[in-house]
Symmetry: C2
Subunit: 432 residues, 2 copies
């Protein structure tokens, strides 16, 4: 059967490469629609867990994995099985190198692993966020080198992921999905594929437009958060509570959208993706100054928080060295178990360097797992009146809903609030 009918009849076998925050929900979604799925990953511990029906992502319930297994799902580290699938969807990470340059090594090694196993009549779709041109410059040559005629006996698409872990209002199914293809046939098949699992697809004219779309979404957030972070510091000098200002401005029914400041950007998208465009733009002699300014200001936020801690301690005649600081929250945003790029880790590291006596509490992390940059041997402690009142400073970095904010307000001596959670008219609150 041709690929189009196979897709429409839910008989095409779906291969997803990269079984993380993006790939796993995608597999589950295809399974829910009756597709047989194969998950590929280089991490055999993940593969083992999935094949046993267990989950390693908190917001993905194990029942969803078991249910996918009943629908024919299996996970594997054997990339030769790529020849068994009709659809190949690549969901591997695209991090930054140490000089803010794109690190496409996960995509490139994936392509190296699969290229000898590609066969005619397959559709290969990239979902990873990347700079405009990647699909044509990185994927197309490999497929053509393998002897295929793209748009004729092999098909290439790009459809950026829009996952938002922790978002209760939208799911993989209800978030509209931008789709593109290298040729018109490629677009048709890519659109047909996602039409089976999402309520609305948004076709665009080329992979580079789709790539730019995803980057724009993240640039928009990074810049707007950078802007309010800068204005927060200015407002602070003017004795103005920026949260009161933002909430008042948000009553304007047109022309304004509220964004909120914080202790710095986190997560695997917003702090990273914009620099993919910066890098590519430089190749063309262009600058992306808003992105660089946002990066600079957002990256300086943990320092600003540490300064506020130092200032508050100084007011009571203490130094950071030797002071007891209780950190509330490790995750990069509230109510999730994701530490990637979390500013909390940077803040803890800086305070430790300055000699602080650090404890932390985060219901999502019993201990601080080792990250690329940090090896912190701390364990989460439960909050109680004694712990709060024994601390010189309680530093709220992530405003999880689980915390007992009334207790914190009652017992803490000084609260450094990086999230605008507390009303600033209480003397013990310092906004940072």
């Amino acid at each position: 059967m041709k690929l189009g009918p196979l897709i429409i009849n839910h008989q095409s076998i779906i291969g997803v490469i990269g079984l993380g925050y993006v790939g796993l929900p995608l597999i589950i979604r295809f399974s829910e629609e009756g597709f047989k799925t194969v998950g590929f990953d280089v991490d055999d511990s993940k593969v083992d867990m999935l094949n046993k029906g267990t989950s390693y992502i908190k917001h993905i319930q194990p029942e969803k994995i078991s249910s996918a297994i009943r629908q024919g799902f299996s996970a594997t580290i054997d990339f030769s099985l790529i020849s068994d699938v009709d659809i190949i969807i690549i969901c591997v990470p695209t991090p930054l190198g140490v000089h803010n340059e794109p690190d496409l090594s996960y995509i490139q090694s994936t392509l190296q692993s699969i290229k000898v196993h590609l066969r005619e009549n397959q559709l290969l779709v990239l979902e990873s966020t990347t700079y405009p041109g990647t699909t044509e410059e990185e994927i197309l040559p490999i497929v053509e080198d393998a002897g295929f005629i793209v748009g004729d006996n092999f098909f290439i698409g790009y459809s950026p992921e829009r996952e938002d872990p922790g978002n209760k209002d939208y799911t993989t199914k209800t978030i509209p999905k931008v789709v593109s293809g290298y040729t018109e046939n490629c677009l048709k098949l890519t659109k047909a594929l996602y039409d089976q699992i999402v309520d609305q697809t948004v076709p665009v004219s080329s992979p580079r437009v789709a790539e730019m779309t995803k980057i724009l979404e993240n640039i928009h957030r990074a810049v707007n958060i950078g802007l309010v972070n800068e204005l927060k510091m200015v407002a602070d000098k003017m004795n103005i509570d920026i949260y009161e200002v933002i909430d008042a401005a948000a009553t304007k029914p047109f022309g304004f959208t509220p964004y909120y400041p914080g202790p710095g950007l986190g997560g695997h998208c917003i702090p990273i993706d914009p620099f993919y465009l910066t890098w590519k733009a430089k190749e063309l002699g262009m600058n992306t100054r808003f992105i660089e300014l946002a990066g600079e200001i957002n990256k300086a936020m943990p320092n600003y928080v540490v300064q506020k801690v130092g200032g508050a301690l100084n007011d009571i005649g203490k130094s950071i060295r030797g002071s007891k600081i209780l950190i509330l929250g490790l995750a990069y945003k509230k109510n999730i178990d994701d530490l990637r790029e979390s500013p909390s880790l940077v803040i803890i590291d800086k305070l430790l360097d300055l000699g602080a006596d650090i404890q932390y509490s985060d219901p999502y992390f019993n201990q601080i797992p080792p990250t690329r940059k940090h090896k912190l041997e701390l364990r989460s402690i439960p909050i109680n009146a004694k712990i709060l009142s024994d601390s010189d400073i309680v530093l709220l970095v992530t405003d999880h809903d689980d915390y007992d904010y009334d207790l914190i307000l009652k017992e803490a001596k000084i609260i450094i609030d990086t999230r605008g959670r507390f009303n600033s008219d209480n003397d013990k609150i310092v906004k940072a």
Copy 2:
């Protein structure tokens, strides 16, 4: 009677100083609710027109003026009549000086004109956009010098205007209004006042918070437009249509709000107000780098457009000098008769300097009125097939809905489109 009951019973007399885009709709709105109103302005031609029941603002119908007159409205240049009113609302312009510094001269001269006429039990509200601190630093001392005790026998408020000329969805009545007062009594009266004429008031804790709120709204727009203007130039180099990208991104149901690029910022708010904060921040040793970057990029847009014109002419072997260029649109945004800060004037000026043969068409302006910077002796011409096809370039600067876009597309040789109005897959379209 005390001021509060006077307001609530619609018996307080409302004096509005500055009868422009902000003051006039405000007077009309108070009249509609049965208040007697007095309009103050230094421009006696405006005062004469209003007293004859005529309007000098296109979107304000003369019937509304006549109807206000029947309700007791009159206009005057005699500021001694300030002692007859209960409420004084200042709606004068707050432009920028030539070095991007705040020009508060209209507020200051207003205060000089009225200070000897102030009397006990009046409420004075400033609506002009300005930097945080203005109400306390400029208005308060003058009222106190006049011998009043603010909050006791005289009241001061700040409530920023949110007028949006041409907006069909919202009116003075339906746009929520931020209100503040120097003391609690001042806030109560200011809130009570606006509660009579708008559906929702939004009280904030101080005039400086209200001042910052209005500035934030405009900074948000200036920065977001600056961002898409920068990305437009980058996308152009990548052969990507930024409008297609923005529209695709706008399908994301959370975390993204579309803003569109253009030929540069215009109007009396967005290009100007943000620099009020920049100026004030410098007093505190702080920078507002997003505002300055947005200003720089937005101000460079007319140059970018002129470069695109030059490039398109160069492609057909012509110079700007001697080429026939038809400009569509003078107003700073579509469907309004407002030229203030319009980038169109800057573009025309530059093209004339370069020797272009310029004609223009704008249904809202029969001729180009003299502005502070430009004295252009041109008259609007109607668009027809001959004019379009005789022009080397048709340059769309303001995308008024009145234009016959099909005719333009059919007859023009080259269209430079600064508004994304045309689909870019036609060869004669150049996006700028």
